[in-house]
Symmetry: D2
Subunit: 255 residues, 4 copies
Amino acid sequence: MFLKEGDYVLLLTSDEKSYLVEIKDLNFHTHKDYLNLKDLIGKTYGDIIYGKKGEKFYILKPTIYDFLKKIERVTQIVYPKDIGYILLKLNISPGKTVLECGGGSGALTSAFAYIVGEEGKVISYEKEIKFQEVAKKNLKKLGLLHRVIFKNIEILENFEEREVDAVFLDVKNPWVIIKGSWEALKGGHPLGILVPTANQVSQCLLELEKYPFVEIEVVEIILRHYKTNPERLRPEDRMIAHTGYLIFAKKVFEK
Amino acid sequence: MFLKEGDYVLLLTSDEKSYLVEIKDLNFHTHKDYLNLKDLIGKTYGDIIYGKKGEKFYILKPTIYDFLKKIERVTQIVYPKDIGYILLKLNISPGKTVLECGGGSGALTSAFAYIVGEEGKVISYEKEIKFQEVAKKNLKKLGLLHRVIFKNIEILENFEEREVDAVFLDVKNPWVIIKGSWEALKGGHPLGILVPTANQVSQCLLELEKYPFVEIEVVEIILRHYKTNPERLRPEDRMIAHTGYLIFAKKVFEK
Amino acid sequence: MFLKEGDYVLLLTSDEKSYLVEIKDLNFHTHKDYLNLKDLIGKTYGDIIYGKKGEKFYILKPTIYDFLKKIERVTQIVYPKDIGYILLKLNISPGKTVLECGGGSGALTSAFAYIVGEEGKVISYEKEIKFQEVAKKNLKKLGLLHRVIFKNIEILENFEEREVDAVFLDVKNPWVIIKGSWEALKGGHPLGILVPTANQVSQCLLELEKYPFVEIEVVEIILRHYKTNPERLRPEDRMIAHTGYLIFAKKVFEK
Amino acid sequence: MFLKEGDYVLLLTSDEKSYLVEIKDLNFHTHKDYLNLKDLIGKTYGDIIYGKKGEKFYILKPTIYDFLKKIERVTQIVYPKDIGYILLKLNISPGKTVLECGGGSGALTSAFAYIVGEEGKVISYEKEIKFQEVAKKNLKKLGLLHRVIFKNIEILENFEEREVDAVFLDVKNPWVIIKGSWEALKGGHPLGILVPTANQVSQCLLELEKYPFVEIEVVEIILRHYKTNPERLRPEDRMIAHTGYLIFAKKVFEK
């Protein structure tokens, strides 16, 4: 499959710096070299393209992970380590309808939209229009804009949707919309919440106890990178210590 | 949507023990009570059903996470915390063709099959026929058997496939099939490996260096559960300390 | 140095089970063998002694770590991973006077008494007389009883001491004695607190803010054991996920 | 107790930056203010001293932890989280004789010297004279220089000491001196090793198996700091991911 105008590629330099670019008639500069991106046309993923000064660039298929890493962000984003687990806990798969509140820059939105496929749908609430505009740009890059219904509304009580397959909340005060989330969800289906502080976890748990939710789970996920020298295998010196606590529960009709 | 014969439900007791069951004419017993599973017909997810002795059972939608947790296992399985990250790194989405070697009990196979959708395909190599039989049973429960091509072959050198979107290796000696994985992959596309020991990581890294692979990454993922008492928020006393190291890389045509 | 009656030794079996025993005329039984402990007299640490059925027992010097691991416990104890850090943060060394509240079974008390030496002193408050009796037994085993002043008093406001070098609190509601701890401490000297829950951390922090304390630090320490097979190096499967949060601060006279 | 010339104090600014200084006739400058350090004479720990421009400085007692944090370093140092555990595992206490190889900048040396007291002794081998000079300066600051015997020797086989209470190795290739460590140790007494890579752990374990060592343990210790806002309790964003693996064993005379 040959690359064509409008495709996205991940360009990787020999010192393993990567750049997510769209193929179009534009000069692309790194600290070392430059090339015209339209010269990528006709190449395939896995090929090498040389810069004007002779630097090597590997042409890689950008994965959803790469898109998430390179996403334009105006908010704190949900990290891949957390997104992967959220996908499984919320049972995201082709054809599902997922509602999220606090879409932010659209990282989690992108992952949801990527997995629900053409038959699925993501409804993304975000009260800040400027965040949502960025999210739209990010979804557009992925070619997934049509799978998302963006709503620039601050939810104070209830969502407009009913019978959705999963709800995810990534807002400052998720407890105020836990009741609303319950209303929006199908029976027996999962709710997920991300909050950065322990105090917020407690507040969410208190609120979850007030409504018919079961299988309440709180977790945190820690990802540690290793240096890749086979003779000197060891973790990197520093790591992300915390992104947030994840809370999950399932709706039942009564308790 | 009313439940019908053949559907799977997750039954949850009031003390939060859960059971994955298929609806059919069968008495289902827990330590406290029992019920006939055909009585679930006509109920919906989120409902309560009462046992013959009056015990309450919540009827929940089993998520892919639940299936993975309840999977029949004859081997060590890949854990959800790792599977979620693998999905993102391998760029799994509807329509993809994924090759895995060392399918084992079929946990990762299930997750792949769940996400690739009706247009996608999973090719699952496993040398032990008895493991593969269990994997087939597990996939059947999920209704995903038709998305998987099972191959009961020990790969010593090369896979039969070419141009697959992603390869995942979960075998004792993945280094012997790293070259074969390179052959099977599309250019610029990702390879993933799971190994339990540091020594195996080193051996894989040594082998990966011999072939044109870039963006080599080694990580481990740690998941910590918290007790859900909002007044006494704290991690559980014990946790899984280790499942395995994850290795990722992308194929290029030359280096 | 030859072992004599009254000495403590750590007996280690060939399958690495260890027993902390005192040398005296007593038959000591394991699941496999037995021996009379007075037969240890005249041996030295590092020697082997054989049981009556031929089992090998290694005679090891019990370290403070071993005493802590084998301590008779009627309460949750402070773990070595935490104790080590506490010693450094509280600046414990020969000659120091340390006050602790919530002595429990005496694990931390033992470590303090071990390090402060003959010129130092540990004051240990514990409201439960039955816990304190156990702590005394534990300290006696270590030969350190004379370094500890036990006080069977519930502190509701103030300690009887002034100008101590360090204070450590391991009680359910440490916030009620933070003011009292401030009173007891020397200026510029450290306070330490251990609490199991995040909510307690918050309450302590709120209280610490009310008094002149600086350099407030909250940490948790995670220790992961590895299997010791050099060909298959990897962490143990399971680990302690949580013991408690450690809080430290230093007293100043005004803020 | 009033401060006098030659004493060390930890000066803490209102924005919680700390400086370890010796009291002498010298102007001390921070980014905001300055003061003459001899003005500290007659103050006590816990007092405030004001800079020439009115900035507040808290006068704190420097703990051994503070000295370790502020230590002049020309090498990677052992971290407090690891040192605390090492102290317990090696059974360091007043009066002990400890041998270390690879003293580096003297962090662990300082902690050992601090705890062994006036009756104890630390023997510190270091092949690089320039590292050892720094270690000496650091020990001098702590007033503990007389407790340490520095040896500027590269150990290729055997130490000069026998019957020491504990040995600690912090060198690149500790396996070459494991036999030598066995020779130097008292029977039944502990050896500790710190290495940064998994490969080194394996090599040490292989070597330990060749000699009569028992109770072999490999651990890593992870310390996570929390932000201290009681209303928003959460871990810091980033943390140290790895310092090293700790290996412990005890010498027996035969196996």
